[in-house]
């Protein structure tokens, strides 16, 4: 139930984000979810795409530093308190969240949350115990 996420190092320089996204666009890779962590000196672009290995290769060919790692995707109802139940489940079992980002499903009923915990397996376990719906890669890609 793990999902592959691609992280790309972005130098704090004009046009770098555009360059990375342009490469994906030219390869007709559709981005399902995206977040950017920015510091004063560099940025980290994180994306979920249906073809993570292909995306990694084409970005690397363009001299980007790329890392592929696992994250967890969960589905929550798009209403007040939806995210609260997810974090509560993790908190109960003392799981730290490194970062998370969310997007709303097209149909608008549910929201998808991408979660990065230090130990992914422990994270999934805690979420399932808390009754949270953990999505498979296929479910995310087909959204």
């Amino acid at each position: 139930m793990k999902l592959k996420q691609i992280s790309v190092f972005l130098e704090n320089r004009k046009g770098r984000l555009w360059k990375a996204l342009n490469i994906l666009s030219l390869a007709k890779i559709n981005i399902r979810a995206l977040s950017i962590a920015d510091t004063s000196e560099f940025g980290i672009l994180r994306i979920i795409v249906p073809e993570p290995e292909l995306a990694k290769h084409i970005l690397e060919d363009a001299n980007f530093v790329v890392k592929v790692n696992d994250v967890i995707a969960v589905s929550i109802s798009d209403e007040p308190g939806g995210l609260d139940s997810v974090l509560e489940a993790l908190n109960m079992l003392d799981i730290n969240v490194e970062y998370l980002y969310a997007f709303v499903e097209k149909k608008g009923k549910n929201a998808i949350v991408i979660i990065r915990t230090e130990d992914i397996d422990a994270g999934i376990n805690a979420l399932e115990k808390g009754g949270v719906t953990v999505l498979s890669s296929e479910e995310v890609y087909s959204l």
Binding site: I44, N63, F64, V65, K67, E98
Partner: protein, 432 residues
């Protein structure tokens, strides 16, 4: 004012004669008492008897910093240790430091040349010299100390650092002459201004600045902000310390005290002497040192000689302000740094591409180094905190190697310029 009119205003002819006598004597002493020189001379089949004119100095081998270091600690001394009354060393950032040993006579010479230098800035018996060069193994502090005392001035041995105390003493003691590095001089001026001290009311009249490369613009800044005459001093521990050459009040070059230190300018590629006025590497021979004679020391400093008559009345040859180095040595906040040291630190980090660029700036009169390093998968993570830990680790590794804090900038792979042949590793934006 001229401290030693006889020496400093000697005719060219008399100077050459004196230099030849002294050169012959020092070559003989080096040959007889320093095994290193005996071997080097023997290898080249030359001996003291081959020095018949000053031009014959070209027959002698060069001495490099490595040669001096290999003799660590006392291998270059030409007298028994009983005769050595003081030692100083270089900072030793690139390995073992080089040691300089002084006999009583050597200290007297040092005091003499420093008295000449300080007199050029107008120092008189009645002056109070705030000596903000570091005291210790570094030669700056003691050199000024001996020169100031020889003149009979009052030396305030405050040493480097503790800026607030420097300013307090400067006001309370009514300091008239400041001696320190030019960047520290500017820093003092800045702090004084921030503290609301009216520098126009200080009693300072002159400053003797050296131990790092600086520019004409910095001089103007120092003169304006501290209301002084700012003059350039040159020297190096291997030869004696400060007091090898000093700028007179005309401020068009530094008079080399050539009755004690014989200068040559060589082309660092061909190793041959170049003509007066041409830029090249300064090579110095100590003509009078007893404790540690040094023959044809390659300073790596780039300058040119000028024998035009100086309006100040002195006849001793002048050298230009140092404009660069014939190696890639950098001086950052007075500390010697070679790019190879930074490279060595980077190579200790697994997965790091040895592609880097060093950018040196002087934003607020103090040097800063930024090291740009190309990221690689091994140095990258989806988590910000890991990337920052990696950066910190690189900073610590470099700090351990060079003793200075640097800022690391991670850049994208292949983004640093590659050049054919020698890569451009250093961009010095200080305009030295």
């Amino acid at each position: 004012m001229i401290w030693n009119r006889e020496a400093e205003c000697m005719s060219a002819e008399d100077m050459s004669e004196l230099q030849l006598q002294r050169l012959q004597a020092v070559v003989k002493r080096a040959y007889e008492y320093v095994p290193y020189y005996k071997k080097r001379f023997n290898d080249l089949n030359i001996g003291p008897e081959h020095i018949e004119t000053l031009d014959d100095i070209e027959k002698l081998p060069f001495t490099s910093k490595t040669d001096l270091r290999d003799a660590y600690p006392f291998g270059m001394f030409a007298v028994p240790i009983d005769e050595i009354v003081e030692v100083h060393t270089t900072s030793g950032t690139t390995g073992k430091p080089t040691v300089s040993g002084y006999t009583e006579e050597d200290l007297d010479i040092w005091g003499e040349v420093m008295a000449r230098a300080l007199t050029m800035t107008g120092v008189h018996k009645s002056d109070k010299i705030q000596n903000s060069y570091g005291y210790g193994l570094f030669t700056g502090g003691m050199g000024v100390h001996y020169g100031g005392q020889k003149i009979g001035a009052t030396v305030i041995p405050i040493s480097a650092g503790n800026t607030m105390r420097q300013l307090e003493i400067m006001q309370d003691f009514e300091t008239t002459v400041l001696t320190c590095t030019p960047s520290y001089g500017l820093y003092l001026a800045e702090v004084a201004e921030n503290e609301g001290i009216d520098t126009g009311k200080l009693k300072l009249k002159a400053g003797c600045f050296g131990a790092e490369m600086w520019t004409e613009e910095m001089r103007q800044e120092l003169e304006k902000r501290l209301n002084i005459s700012a003059q350039n001093i040159y020297g190096l521990t291997e030869i004696i310390g400060p007091g090898v050459a000093m700028e007179c009040s005309i401020k068009k070059g530094l008079h080399i005290f050539e009755d004690h230190f014989y200068p040559e300018i060589i082309d660092p590629q061909t190793m041959k002497q170049v003509s007066d006025g041409e830029n090249g590497e300064l090579v110095l021979t100590t003509l009078t040192r007893e404790g540690m004679p040094v023959i044809r020391f390659r300073t790596r400093d780039i300058t040119a000689l000028n024998r035009d008559i100086c309006e100040c009345g002195r006849t001793q040859v002048k050298m230009d302000r140092i404009t660069g180095r014939s190696d890639d040595m950098l001086k950052i906040r007075g500390v010697i740094v070679f790019p190879s040291q930074i490279e060595k630190a980077l190579l200790k980090i697994d997965g790091l591409e040895p592609q880097y660029q060093i950018i040196v700036t002087r934003p607020h009169h103090l040097d800063e180094i930024e090291v740009m390093v190309e990221t690689s998968p091994a140095l990258f993570s989806d988590e910000v905190k890991h990337v920052e830990e990696i950066k910190k680790n690189i900073e610590i590794k470099i700090h351990n190697e060079i003793g200075l804090r640097v800022n690391i900038s991670l850049v994208e792979p292949k983004s640093l310029p590659r050049s054919e042949g020698k890569a451009v590793r250093v961009i010095d934006k200080r305009n030295l």
